[in-house]
């Protein structure tokens, strides 16, 4: 490694993951390659979104980052440590925390603050420090007011923020979220995405967000598009969502505002070739066509 070079927080090298399919009797039916020669590097503090159709390998790739899955071929490094090396296992799981789709499967405590303290308690952290971490974690996701409540009494978005706080209490360098908003109502989705963005902006935690909602992916620094276990495209949201037709081929989408701008561009109403990602950008690109300009601009749907 060159001097002064920042260690990639996540790095995969020719990563391949295969699993064997068996029939009822246990005979091998075939081998599925879920991740196929993936080479990615994520720098500390980056916000990465991974999109791809169901079965494209997103979750399998993510599970390699905190050593739930091990490579069939190639290797995965988290903060420079090889995940296949058993002596790094617990360190890697602490550094790279995971949040899953269903909050009800991730919360075990009877009281919010106990649930958040479960991780550090298991690590043998002294009690006083556990409480310090619980305080910080709850405040980072805006759940301090609910700390004494039973998780059953929380909304989906609140439960998911408790799950995130539980991961935060482990002081991770990186958080991987696998479709954290799939089960949430619109305000729950906004709450969770807002919390995730704040962790990235304020705490500088590296974020890997797997999502089927393209309007959540626009906040990422880079998007990885997966297809058939491979990385089909990488780029900034603006670069990725410029490729409307290719994304459709991959069973994906672009944010509706981007699609509308795309249609208006084809008709010559929008002249600029820059991909539009938000309502404000749409208004700006339509500027010449708008009759009058008011001070107030419509409310953004984005978080």
């Amino acid at each position: 490694m060159a001097m002064g070079c920042v260690v990639d927080i996540i790095k995969t090298k020719d990563l391949v993951y295969e699993y064997i399919r068996r029939d009822e009797e246990g005979n091998v039916e075939g081998i599925t390659r879920a991740v196929d020669e993936v080479d990615v590097a994520v720098r500390p503090g980056e916000f990465i979104a991974i999109v791809g159709h169901n079965g494209s390998g997103k979750s399998t790739l993510a599970k390699h980052i905190n050593a739930i899955c091990y490579p069939t071929e190639g290797s995965v490094f988290v903060d420079g440590k090889d995940t296949a090396d058993e002596k790094h296992l617990w360190e890697i799981r602490r550094m790279a925390g995971m949040v899953f789709q269903n909050p009800d499967n991730q919360i075990i405590g009877q009281v919010v603050e106990e649930d958040v303290g479960f991780g550090p308690e298991n690590m043998g952290i002294p009690t006083a420090q556990i409480w310090e971490r619980v305080d910080e974690s709850l405040s980072a996701v805006g759940m301090t007011a609910h700390r004494k409540k039973s998780p059953n009494r929380l909304s989906g978005g609140q439960k998911q923020r408790v799950s995130i706080a539980g991961v935060l209490a482990m002081r991770p360098k990186c958080i991987i979220l696998d479709e954290p908003t799939a089960m949430l109502d619109p305000s729950g989705r906004k709450e969770v995405i807002r919390a995730v963005r704040a962790l990235n902006d304020v705490e500088k935690i590296t974020i890997v967000l797997i999502t089927h909602y393209m309007d959540e992916a626009i906040f990422a620094d880079r998007i990885f598009v997966m297809d058939k276990g491979r990385i089909a495209m990488t780029g900034t949201p603006r670069q990725i969502f410029h490729r409307v037709e290719e994304l459709k081929q991959l069973r994906l989408d672009v944010p509706y505002v981007t699609l509308l701008a795309h249609k208006l561009r084809k008709s010559g109403v929008i002249k600029s070739d820059t991909t539009v990602l938000s309502i404000e950008e749409l208004l700006d690109s339509l500027d010449i066509a708008l009759p009058v300009k008011h001070e107030s601009v419509g409310k953004s749907v984005n978080c």
Partner: protein, 286 residues
């Protein structure tokens, strides 16, 4: 036709844990409507839909199906459950048979139909959700997420329901899978005139397909109207933890900037047409 009359449901009534999930709900669901049911988590949607096919017993009030009270002693509730098909969230978790075909046959066989009719129904249902013959003898667990879910929906369709209720049928699916499932349900609805109640958190999905939206809040019906009228009140919806399709916000922003677009345009196509019209470029085609 389903009629809900002064329906109240209290969980764990007469205990310290008592919680009113729905309160004094009145509702008419006529035949052939495509209805969207929205409301934030805990607003009572799931409790309401479970009442529609008799899975819960009301604390007070009644539900009538074709004029008969579904909780009358002589009412055939088993038949009701085939007539009002309920597709729960993540229905693929309920798949259990060795292959797709047997799984979809399970329901109609339990209705006591003969083999020919069971198989006709299963075949028809699988075709309706776009599952091709090559998958029929595969294990349902070898299918993709979207396919599994469609097989589970076929299992309910094979019961030949008059009313189909779907609780978040697209949660966790990729955009392609989302469009496929909803497209097939919309086609099915148009073709057969089946009544559909779609529970969804995606305002864009709701806006694309339904003709009527019921908004629930705190166990009550907060609003019940056509989608354009509902989404015009997007500020109120946001207060309820909901929202509107992205196009509604765009139309609003454009109107604030002085462009006379249709505030009721809910889809990308409608918004596009409205912008072109407002700019006097209607005949300008891409």
């Amino acid at each position: 036709m389903l009629i809900v009359d002064h329906l109240t449901h209290i969980y764990e009534k007469n205990t310290a844990m008592a919680q009113t999930a729905i309160h004094d709900i009145n509702l008419v669901i006529p035949e052939g409507q495509f209805i969207g049911l929205i409301g934030h988590t805990g607003s009572g949607k799931s409790t309401l839909i479970q009442h529609l096919n008799g899975l819960l017993k009301p604390t007070s009030g009644s539900v009538f199906f074709h004029g008969a009270d579904i909780h009358d002693d002589d009412f055939d509730r088993k038949q009701l459950r085939s007539k009002v098909g309920l597709v729960f969230q993540y229905p693929e978790h309920q798949l259990f048979e060795v292959d797709v075909w047997s799984d979809v046959c399970f329901g109609p066989r339990n209705l006591g139909l003969d083999k020919l009719n069971v198989e006709l129904r299963a075949y028809h249902a699988l075709k309706q959700v776009g599952i091709s013959d090559e998958h029929f003898y595969q294990s349902p667990f070898d299918l993709s997420g979207g396919e599994k879910r469609r097989v589970a929906i076929a299992g309910v369709l094979a019961m030949a329901p008059e009313v189909l209720i779907l609780d978040e049928p697209t949660a966790g699916l990729d955009p392609g899978g989302r469009d496929e499932i909803l497209g097939q349900i919309a086609a099915l609805q148009a073709e057969t005139g089946i009544t559909v109640v779609l529970v969804s958190h995606s305002m864009d999905d709701i806006a694309k397909h339904v003709e009527r939206i019921i908004v629930m809040r705190g166990g009550k019906i907060a609003d019940d109207d056509v989608p354009t009228a509902i989404f015009m009140k997007f500020a109120e919806l946001e207060e309820m933890g909901l929202g509107a399709p992205q196009m509604t916000y765009i139309m609003d922003a454009l109107r604030l900037r002085g462009l006379a677009v249709d505030p009721a345009a809910l889809t990308v196509t409608a918004a596009y047409n409205s912008i072109m019209k407002a700019l006097g470029m209607e005949n300008h085609h891409a």
